[in-house]
């Protein structure tokens, strides 16, 4: 993974980018690609390839709209919103035509692991089930859960990113997890012990 190379703030880099500095913008792409990929993934970009395509579209669209960016607000939130809107647009477009991918394709990356074939199969099945149930959650629950547990953001960061009060973030995560637990088969969360 490419590491960020400057210590300038996102907002300063965004201002430079808005003036046409493509180098500054590349730095922003490096810094935020993981977040954007995961937001898109959580919003239904079913494979890494889909997520990458949408991430590219997100960054290009953001570049075109840098003139509308308010540098007093976090750049991360701004670009996350663009990614979210793009994912919604794509989802609407996809829903009008039959899907060509299924969860087997989604879970293609789940086939690597350490232990024997049986243990791998069980683990893969559990992850597929969890992934499937996670994607069935309402958007406002799924998003916070992904940001908290997959992107490993703090509650403060999520609140800032989504422009929500901390209390709402906690409530959404709690309710989302409760819904997820109800939808999962009992053995999916329990583990082997």
């Amino acid at each position: 993974m490419i590491e960020p190379v400057t210590s300038e703030t996102d907002e300063r880099l965004a201002v430079r980018s808005a003036r046409g500095d493509l180098r500054a913008y590349e730095e922003l792409v490096v810094r935020h690609q993981r977040l954007i990929l995961r937001i898109l993934w959580a919003r239904g970009a079913w494979s890494q390839e889909d997520a990458e395509d949408l991430a590219q579209e997100t960054f290009v669209r953001a570049w075109e709209r840098l003139g509308t960016y308010d540098s007093s607000r976090p750049f991360k939130s701004w670009i996350a919103r663009i990614a979210g809107n793009l994912a919604i647009d794509r989802h609407r477009a996809d829903s009008r035509r039959p899907r060509t991918t299924d969860l087997d394709e989604v879970g293609a990356t789940l086939t690597t692991g350490g232990p024997g074939p049986a243990a791998i199969a069980i683990e893969n099945e559990r992850q597929r089930e969890l992934l499937s149930r996670l994607r069935e959650l309402p958007e406002h629950y799924r998003q916070v859960i992904v940001l908290r547990f997959l992107e490993d953001l703090s509650y403060e960061e999520i609140a800032e990113l989504l422009d929500l009060p901390m209390g709402s973030v906690k409530t959404r995560i709690f309710r989302g997890r409760e819904m997820l637990k109800r939808r999962l088969r009992p053995d999916t969360v329990e583990g082997e012990g």
């Binding site: 046409g20 690609q33 590219q56 996670l134 999916t188 969360v189 583990g191």
Partner: protein, 187 residues
């Protein structure tokens, strides 16, 4: 927390380290004595571990290059507002210079502009009309035949040079324009 068991929200907040010291100690003490709540807490923690182990995408090695390429390809390069300002100033200055050089007032320039526009329209209509007339093409063909018969070799060479020079000028302009866009957009 109820008297008998910890509430679901308390367990969640406990597992996330979000409880204040007092309630945190209470739940911790309860979990050490209540097997049912300890099991519920274990499931809560298991869910967190399972979520964290989901194979979400982490990075895309070629994304930065792809984004840069797409931005360049789509011609989405953005010139700095200062460059737009410089361009606008140059335009205004050249217009003013033309007014001064041609010894015209602004009103005179407006009238001249309207006049030129009208002439241009009339000429364009005449050209279209002529192009649509088969007789025109007959005359052109006859004139070309006569010209080829009578034109000297040196005149033909001159025309060849003229077209070659025009092609080079067009290519040079396209190259300069492309370079200018890059210089203006990426400083």
């Amino acid at each position: 927390m109820t008297e008998s068991h910890a509430g679901a929200e308390d367990l969640f907040l406990f597992s996330e380290g979000l409880l204040d010291d007092g309630p945190h100690r209470l739940v911790a003490a309860h979990l050490s004595t209540c097997a049912i709540c300890a099991e519920r807490y274990r499931r809560e923690a298991e869910l967190t571990v399972s979520l964290k182990s989901l194979p979400a995408p982490t990075s895309a090695p070629g994304l930065v290059a792809d984004v840069t390429r797409a931005i360049r390809r789509q011609g989405a390069l953005r010139a700095s507002p200062w460059w737009w300002l410089v361009g606008a100033c140059l335009l205004v200055l050249s217009g003013a210079q033309w007014l001064v050089a041609s010894d015209l007032t602004v009103a005179g320039a407006g009238a001249a502009f309207v006049h030129a526009g009208r002439d241009l329209t009339v000429t364009a209509l005449s050209v279209v009309q002529a192009l649509a007339d088969p007789q025109t093409w007959l005359h052109v063909a006859e004139a070309a035949a006569v010209a080829l018969d009578t034109t000297s070799t040196s005149t033909l060479l001159l025309m060849g040079w003229f077209f070659a020079a025009a092609l080079v000028a067009v290519a040079a302009n396209a190259l300069l324009w492309s370079m200018a866009r890059r210089v203006l957009a990426i400083r």
